[in-house]
Amino acid sequence: MNLRVENLNFAYRSGTPVLRDVSLEIAEGRVTGLFGSNGSGKSTLLRCLNGSLRPQLGRVWLGDRDAATLTPREMARLVAVVSQDTPVSLPFTALEVVLLGRYPHGELWQADSPEDVRFARECLERLDAADLSERLFDQLSGGERQRVIVARALAQQAPVMLWDEPASHLDIKHQLELFRLAHAQAAEGRVVVMVCHDLFLAPLFVDHAVLMRAGSAFAAGSTAEVLCPANLSRAFSVNMTLNWPADDSISVSLKNIKSID
């Protein structure tokens, strides 16, 4: 299933447009990264993709289905979101949080089936978090919580995964594991879209980059092409160069970063 975004325009009630005429093709089987400065519209675009924000103009297509016509439940079976705003004070254990990911597949008050529980444990294992399963969510550290939330999204078993800065709060080892996991998810044929904040690790794991500035997606294509010095300077107002000396290594060079221009 591919995602298609057509002429998306979105403004919050206050009126300033946050997305201006965004059109994108997001293919399955690769990781698509949304890059851009704070407030450039990355997260808003992500929320339009699963219909939790309704664009004033334009359409989002999930395969051949118009996102605006899907019920929340149908949407949750197609699209899993790793969001930033899970409340810390959840009274559940980590395993119970992951099992919430099975919600769109279950009926009313029924108990979790043994398969659900097994699958939820598997999802925790994939995030190196099996030992957290019986711990209370609100007693976990920020990074541990983040891994549990990602496991919950995996438990949703949706063909599309939207990750809103999944690597924040994580140490470098777990960041790398998370990006590898995103890659593996894409390799299984999923659509994976990630909002990326950092330019130091994420580009290596992103196959297709979209660069945003002031609500427009002004560049899209292969990561190395899109994240060229000229585009980066346009998007972030910072002079920097990303170097790919080999297929699986990256370095970033920043020039004149202490002077104000």
């Binding site: 939790s52 949407m75 409340p87 004070s89 009274p91 919600y103 008050w109 609100d138 007693q139």
Partner: protein, 324 residues
Amino acid sequence: MLFLALMAAMALALAVGSVSIPPVNIVRGVLGQLNDDVTGRILFGARLPRVLVAGLVGAALALSGLASQTLFRNPLASPSVIGVSNGAAFGAVAGVLLSARFINVGYGVSTALSVAGGLVVTALVFMLGRRGRYFGHALLLAGIAIAALCSALTTAMLYLAGERLQSIVFWLMGGLWLANWRDVWLVAPITFFGLAAMIIWSRDLNVALLGERSARDLGLDLPRLQRRLLVLIALLASVAVSVSGVIGFIGLIVPHLLRLITGADHRRLVLPTALGGALLLVLADTAARTLASPAEIPVGIFTAVTGAPVFLWLLQKRRPAGGP
């Protein structure tokens, strides 16, 4: 286990009182083989309806407390924070005064006005509170303001009460000594409806704890569930107040205590909460009417005096990381 404890507590409550009834006679009475008329009248005319009302009101209060805590994602919420209890008490007191001043249509008016008061206040709080950016915050603030307004008006009415002061105080302190069979038939359907609804919604209630965005991402129509919960809380709490006055702390403490035992999964929490609320109020009412016998401590005072320390103890026990 809770169910057995509840049965035992109800049997105990039937047995003790200003006239003790031996267990044999209770069994005989339930089987319809009692030939002592006086015992029969005490048992079926006074004690049984009172015990049943205590159980039903306790369950209704505990369920509405659980629903409030889930609705506001705050383990310290209770129906009184959205003003329902005060609204219902205000309605009841207004009813007492009205029937004193104008027509004596009796006790039924207070009950009806009390339910109406609770529902109207909830509707008002909802209309004022839903404009806010976050569902919970504006609603809580509107609820607190309106609750304060209602209790001020209720207090003002005490001045006008005159000889009716006694029956007004009943609504403010909470008590079950007026409980009768009509109350049983009023509270039973609402309580069982609330219990069934919350069991059916229990997975939704779990997801609701994730908050607006994440709940939607998982496919839950949270605003719809919030509206339904609000109606349910209003119904449960105002019907409870309409037969027993304001009885505090049961709605606050029972769900909280049981969450420590069963965990927060509503599929395991809803039924024990209802049973626990019933058990606690049956015990509290039995204690309230026997400890100072032949006088009676109003059960609302009793639950507040015993509940407040338990509540403070729970506050102390809360994990520092767990607080919103």
